[in-house]
Symmetry: C2
DNA sequence: TACACGTGTAAGAAAGTTCTTACACGTGAA
DNA sequence: TTCACGTGTAAGAACTTTCTTACACGTGTA
């Protein structure tokens, strides 16, 4: 993901911020920051349904904030562990302006389609 | 807003991240980072409808990312100028975990209401 | 075979976000 | 009075997000 030396593109930034702008996903990251865990146990720990957790984890992984790996347990079960990725992002007006300059999609991703996508 | 010495609460963080996780609002902040401007001109510069810009600016102001002020122009017009706020946020797994610990609303703000809001 | 545990996916509903269009009001100049 | 320019607000439509429930599959044990 994004370390102190690299800057995300505007599109990456939007993806990351959107992924983190949800209380449940924040809690997921926070729980994984305390140590990796597998999906169904994480669902129990956090107290949400497993399909829901899976969906949120996919969103976080797509943004590069967590990393999933499939492992075989000693009793033959395929278990999907997730751990938090190593990221370090800084947000200041100047940095946001630099990122905004690289946005490829400038319109909001929802609502009625606009007549003329502005750029 | 949030300088290098202060940490936002979990709720503030979610509000800020949600406000920034939109390409159009990123562009608004970026344009204002280059210098303050008034609403209708900003709408022209960016190329969006004024009511839409107004709505987005309100969202950014509520999150503390921009500051609006009403001024009287020399020809008697009440003009609403906006400028970017001074913020400096850092996002790392540890900082997110600390913020998540202070979340008061732990559920996502949309979708079907859950049976038992989990904490 | 039934059960326990793990996985991934799909469908449909509820809620919020984004956008356009319209309305209303104000000041000043022609 | 009309026009130009500024402001704020509301209504309704299109779209995305979030959630639950259900289905399907796998391995191992009793």
């Amino acid at each position: 993901m994004t370390g102190p030396g690299t800057s995300p593109t505007g599109d990456q930034l939007v993806e990351v911020l959107a992924a983190l702008s949800n209380p449940l996903r924040l809690r997921i990251v926070a729980t994984l920051a305390g140590g990796r865990d597998y999906v169904s146990n994480l669902a129990r720990v956090i107290g949400v349904s497993r399909p829901l957790l899976h969906m949120h984890l996919q969103r976080l992984e797509a943004a590069g904030l967590v990393v999933g790996s499939l492992e075989l347990s000693e009793d033959g079960k395929a278990m999907k562990y997730f751990e938090v990725a190593d990221f370090d992002l800084r947000l200041t007006p100047a940095l946001l302006a630099a990122a905004a300059a690289t946005l490829t999609t400038t319109d909001s991703p929802r609502g009625p389609a606009r007549e003329e996508p502005s750029r």
